[in-house]
Amino acid sequence: MTNAQIHDKLSSKSPDAAVPEMWETFKSDMKLVNPNNKRKFKIIVVGTGLAGASAAATLAELGYQVEAFTFHDSPRRAHSIAAQGGINGAKNYKGDGDSVHRLFYDTVKGGDFRARESNVHRLAENSVDIIDQMVAQGVPFAREYGGLLDNRSFGGAQVSRTFYARGQTGQQLLLGAYQQMERQVGLGNIKLWNRVELVDTVTIDGRCAGIVTRDLINGEVRSHSAHAVVLCTGGYGNVFFLSTNAMACNVTAAWRAHRNGAFFANPCYTQIHPTCIPQADETQSKLTLMSESLRNDGRVWVPKAVGDERAAADIPEDERDYYLERLYPSFGNLAPRDISSRAAKRAVDQGRGVGPLKNGVYLDFSDAIGRLGKDTVEERYGNLFQMYERIAGEDPYAVPMRIYPASHYTMGGLWVDYELMTTIPGLYAAGEANFSDHGANRLGASALMQGLSDGYFVLPYTIGNYLAPMLGKATPGVDHPEFKAAETAARQRFQGYLDIKGTRSPDHFHRELGHIIWDYCGMERTEQGLEKALSELPALYDEFKKDLRVTGNGESVNQTLEKAGRVDDFFQLGMLMCRDALERNESCGGHFRSEYQDDEGEAVRDDENFAHVAAWEWNGDPMSSIRNVEPLDFTATHLATRSYK
């Protein structure tokens, strides 16, 4: 293995059993906390998206004291709400041959054999319970006329296992989890902190002892102690500046934990989603996703000829290139995200892009409208079509949508073991914030599944296993010097941004950072490009530290100051991402190194040298972090070249 060492902290602690029996084995063997003792333990949950809200609700139902933190005005705003298409569940309600094993296998294969089998199998097992749980809570999933649940297909699968609530599945699932959480707030079992942001984690005597937060209304820095801390703080896709993430999504919580000793795994595994509305102008602040579910009925194409200026309707059928159907006949328009994205990029790079800036490809519904009628298409995708019309100013019932890939999801994240614990004992990471389930590429409708699996069905078991031996032992309070030191450091850091008094805003630097990352660590990466990025990034980061301008003060709402802290952390993460991409001398999933492809442009993995997780250890500077590895074993699947042809 290159420049890597196997670290003793990187034991996955997967149970000693065959993969399909691991979760049952764990549940049989784990330590329990007596119901009356649960109230003696305090657990902090940071973030209130699907993972955070479901974890907070369930832990509170079990009887733990829970404190939940969100930087939003309400927990319901978390970005899980924007997920559109659906959630996978291996129910086999369609009788089309689905099973837990098949969902497990599809997810491992979809992740290009770079995920940990034990975690993925548990995810597939839990998928079944999630659907039951969400229906019981009143999530209005789509139904057949007889009252049974409806399903649709998603990329990378040949069965229909995706449950959906129109194009607002994330919203409905999040509201379900939020309502369960609010119920516990009302009962006094959860203390909710809103408009409060995590600015540091605190480790005392080798265990996570709590967090330090900053109140976004008045700038107050404050410590919170607990027996265990769970980070459900999402992904880092906003490192690209333009992404489908919400404006406030950031890496700060995970990054601060990383700086305090939590290893950061596979930062170069980022997902570029193929179906987003292309950038329209230079002031654009974010990109909007058009759900992958649209590829069930929409056909992707570009003109065959380079530089074809005709309107879509004027291009005859035989002059169109339905390139996904041509290249990947068995999956067609439902080829996985990484593969579809690269195919779109190639079409645009060849000069066959469409739209005023020639920066998109068509997603055409005219066949579907002809076959199913406008009403059916509207029923399936109405709100998505409306969203497209609002943003692009074109009617997708009349002219094809224009789409292009954009940063959407990050498979990398904090390294966690089978129990979702990071390398800091007592600190857990769940949902998109961890790295564990999607390998190098996530399949559609799997993020919602993972967030809810972690929050409802994994953490409530695994946290007890950690807490049980701590019964009766004193834990450090917020007057401990480590808390005071972290508070002081946080105050100084934020005051520091105000004191630079340079000339350029955090957004200016964020855009510049995003350009570098997109150009060199985006859809296609090369050794040369990554080295260029790694020479440009530290220089730009130095400028940030010398020339940043934050106006206003630190004692009232200051969104520029909040942004400064987040951009600071994105810079450091960006460097680590490029280093990770440079060290991984293979192509896998979302990580495509141009040097490693076959004659047809498909990714070439190097299983001999890279069938492992790269887990980075902080060493004072992102440019000198240490690369450790966790080898991946494949016993329930066999390593195979991923083909969707």
């Binding site: 705003r77 809570q137 209005p140 009252g147 809103n194 409306q386 100013g393």
Partner: protein, 257 residues
């Protein structure tokens, strides 16, 4: 793509909840017609930072009309002039060069102002806490297909559940009432078979919590017109009906106990 020039903005500035507020005038010299309204405010804020002034504070997040974080009264209308559209999805192609636009926060007694255009909408969470859920603790759920939900019921529940909790209904209401928000959540849960066991307890608790924060509904219908998700005012009829039934049903339950 073309550019609009000289957008004249009149924006409410207020440095804190107890500070005096005032309108300030700003000029955005040039903006793409493809830009969203909030991107136009981003451009203004970058301009203000370059002039060493403090940017305008406003709530926003997903910028695709689903999270409900954005707000703003734009020329006196909650979320601005385009029907069924949240502020974040409003685009500058709706305006012409030289337009004069007044931007204010959502104003309601139950939404105290925090700074500039940012208000506190936590009272909505208090309503949900009081009963806006189906009690279904993790672990005991039956198989999902054991609960049959007729398609029209699922569709109608989904129509109501589409509420994004932005508060436009309250801001648009002359009384500052939250009946559309509360009615939407009640209708979603009370229509479904899973919601029946708690139906009347939920109706009573949510309506009475709502009444402790918000004004009373007098059927102006401004809420429906302002709603970015076009939630029908029918949900208020459902709310009234279930609340009335609840006051009888719950009284009988209490008498028996």
């Amino acid at each position: 793509m073309s550019h609009l020039s000289d957008i004249k903005l009149k924006i409410w500035r207020q440095s804190g909840p107890d500070e005096p507020g005032r309108f300030e005038h700003y000029l955005v010299p040039s903006i793409s017609d493809e830009a969203s309204f909030l991107e136009m405010l981003d451009v203004l804020n970058e301009q203000l930072i370059s002039e060493e002034r403090e940017p305008v504070v406003f709530d926003h997040d997903c910028r695709e009309g689903i999270c409900g974080t954005c707000s703003l009264m734009i020329d006196g209308q909650a979320h601005g002039p385009q029907k069924g559209t949240a502020t974040c999805q409003l685009h500058m192609r709706q305006y012409r060069s030289g337009a004069e636009i007044t931007v204010e926060p959502f104003r309601a007694a139950a939404f105290p102002l925090l700074k500039d255009l940012m208000v506190n909408r936590s009272a909505f969470d208090r309503i949900v806490e009081s009963g806006g859920y189906i009690t279904a603790e993790t672990g005991g759920a039956p198989d999902a297909n054991l609960i049959l939900v007729p398609k029209p019921v699922a569709d109608a529940a989904m129509d109501a559940a589409a509420c994004i909790g932005c508060g436009a209904c309250v801001a648009a209401c002359p009384n500052g009432a939250a009946n559309l928000f509360t009615g939407a959540k009640l209708t979603h849960l009370n229509m479904l078979p899973q919601g029946q066991p708690e139906r009347y307890r939920r109706a009573e608790a949510m309506v009475e919590t709502m009444d402790s924060y918000f004004g009373s509904c007098t059927n102006h219908g401004e809420c429906e017109a302002a709603c970015p998700k076009e939630i029908s005012i029918d949900v208020i009829a459902t709310l009234n009906q279930d609340y009335r039934k609840a006051k009888f049903a719950n009284r009988k339950t209490m008498a028996r106990a």
